[in-house]
Subunit: 240 residues, 2 copies
DNA sequence: CGCCGTCTTGCGTAAACCCGCAGCTTGTCG
DNA sequence: CGACAAGCTGCGGGTTTACGCAAGACGGCG
C-alpha cells in the first residue's frame, strides 16, 4: 500500500509521515508533496489511492487538488487534515466529494489517536470519518435550520465577488428582481439589519458590503473560497 | 535570560523551543503559551523581555497580544514568526511597534539558520531583523509607490466593514464628498475599473464590493485585519 | 509675494440598490 | 380538484453611489 501526503508545512509533513507509518504497518511507501500542484502530479503518476491532504496551501489549495484528483479517479480515498473547520471549507469539500467516495476530515488539533484511527478507518475500512466539530457544521449547513440554502450561498458569493445585481441576474439566469429577492433573504439570515444599528439615524451600514463582512467574520467565506469563486467567475467571463 | 514562546501549534511550539535552546545558551528558562490570551498573562506575570510570537492564533492573535504587551512594557523585544507575509499583517505590525523597539519578523519558511540568527540579533544585540520578503512589502506599503496611503487604507477598511459613505464621513470627520473622493482614489489604485470588464455593456462590477474583493485577493486585507477593524468599529459605535 | 499641486467641499445627475405591493407559475397535500 | 406555500417577475419610488465640474483652503518653492 502506498500513501501520498500533501502538506505545506515540513513539520506537519514529517509528523504525518510518522503517523502513517505507525498507524498503517501495511503501508510500504510514503510519498510527500509540498503543495497542491505537486500533489496532483504525484497522485497521477503513482495512481495514488490513498491521500492525506492539507487544505490551505499556497500554490494550489487542497480543495482544488482534491477536485482534479477525484475527477480523474473518483474512488481515491482522501483524508483532509486541516487547521480550521470554517464553514467555507466544509462546504467546499462537501461540494466536490464524489458519490460514495470514502473520505475524512480531521482537524490538526485532534489527538494522535484520532488521526491514526481515521487513517485506518478510511484507508483500510473505506469508511468516512468526519470530526465531530466539522460534522456539526456540515449538518447545520446542509439542513436548512439556521443554515444557508445553496441559492443563498450562491448569491452571497456573487456579491462577495463584487458583481452588480444585473450581472448576477445574467450569470444565474434570473430577473433583476429575483436577484434582489434573494439578497433580501440573505440579509435577513445574516442579521444585517440588527447590526445595522438600533438608531437608524446615525450611521447605517451598506447592506451589501456588510453582508460580505459578516459572512467573513462567521467563516462562511474565507480566502480560499473567494479565490475559487474568482477563478470560476473568470472562467464564466471568458466563456462570454 | 527568559524567553516566552506564544504559538498555537504544538509542533511549531516545540520546534521553537528547541531553536531557542540551540541559539541562546544564555537562556535558562523557556515558557510557552498556546494562544494570545495566555501569552499576555504570562508576559505580565513574568515581566518577559523576550518573546517569540506567532501571528494568527485562534483565541487572540499575535498583533492584539503584542499591542497590549508593548503598551505595558514598550522595551519588550518581540520576534514575530509567521506563516504569511500578507500586507495586512505587515501593516498591522508596523502600526503597533513602539518607537525604537527592537523586533523581528521572520517567516516560518525560513531556514533554521535564519531563525537562530534572528533570535540572537534581536534578543542579544537588540537589532531589528525583518525577512527580506517582508521588508519588500513594508517598503512598498509605506513608500507611496504603488502602495497605499494611510488614508486610502483607512477608507478601504471602512467600506470592507460595510459602512455607508455617510457613516464613514461621520467617523472620519469628513464631508460626504471627500469620502467619495477617497473612494475614487482607492478604486483607481486597485484597478477596479480594469477588471470591471472591457465591454462595459455586459456585466459591470459593483465598485465598492469589488474593491474589497480585490483587496482580499491581494492580501491587503485578511481575516485578522477585518476582525481587528470590526472590534475598533464596535468600540467607536459604543462611544456614540 | 504669486504660482502650483494636493486636499476638501458643495452642487447636480445618472445609475444602482433596497424593498413594498401584486400578479403568475409550480409543487405539494388533503 | 381546490387550497396553500414558495419562488419568480414587473412596477414604482425612496435612498445611496459614482463622479464631473468648480470653488476655496493649505503648503511649499522660486
Amino acid at each position: 500500500m502506498k500513501v501520498l501526503i500533501v502538506e505545506d508545512d515540513p513539520l506537519h509533513r514529517s509528523y504525518l509521515h510518522e503517523a502513517v507509518n505507525a498507524a498503517l504497518p501495511e503501508c510500504d511507501t510514503v510519498i510527500e508533496a509540498e503543495n497542491g500542484t505537486v500533489g496532483e502530479k504525484l497522485a497521477r503518476d503513482h495512481k495514488s489511492a490513498h491521500i492525506v491532504m492539507d487544505l490551505q496551501m499556497a500554490s494550489r489549495n487542497g480543495i482544488e487538488a482534491a477536485r482534479t484528483i477525484w475527477k480523474e479517479r473518483p474512488e481515491t480515498r482522501i483524508l483532509f487534515w486541516s487547521n480550521y473547520s470554517d464553514e467555507a471549507y466544509v462546504r467546499g469539500v462537501s461540494r466536490i466529494v464524489p458519490d460514495g467516495a470514502a473520505y475524512g476530515y480531521v482537524l490538526k488539533s485532534a489527538s494522535d489517536e484520532r488521526l491514526k484511527l481515521a487513517l485506518r478507518s478510511i484507508f483500510i475500512e473505506s469508511q468516512c470519518v468526519i470530526d465531530r466539530e466539522v460534522r456539526g457544521l456540515q449538518q447545520k449547513s446542509l439542513g436548512q435550520t439556521n443554515g444557508f440554502t445553496d441559492s443563498e450561498y450562491e448569491i452571497l458569493v456573487d456579491i462577495a465577488l463584487g458583481l452588480t445585481d444585473r450581472a448576477i441576474a445574467k450569470r444565474r439566469s434570473l430577473s433583476l428582481r429575483s436577484v434582489q429577492n434573494r439578497l433580501q433573504q440573505l440579509y435577513d439570515k445574516l442579521d444585517v439589519y440588527q447590526t445595522a444599528g438600533d438608531d437608524h439615524e446615525d450611521g447605517r451600514f451598506n447592506l451589501r458590503a456588510r453582508a460580505v463582512t459578516i459572512a467573513f467574520l462567521r467563516k462562511l467565506l474565507n480566502y480560499s473560497a473567494l479565490e475559487r469563486a474568482e477563478a470560476e467567475l473568470q472562467e464564466w467571463l471568458d466563456g462570454k
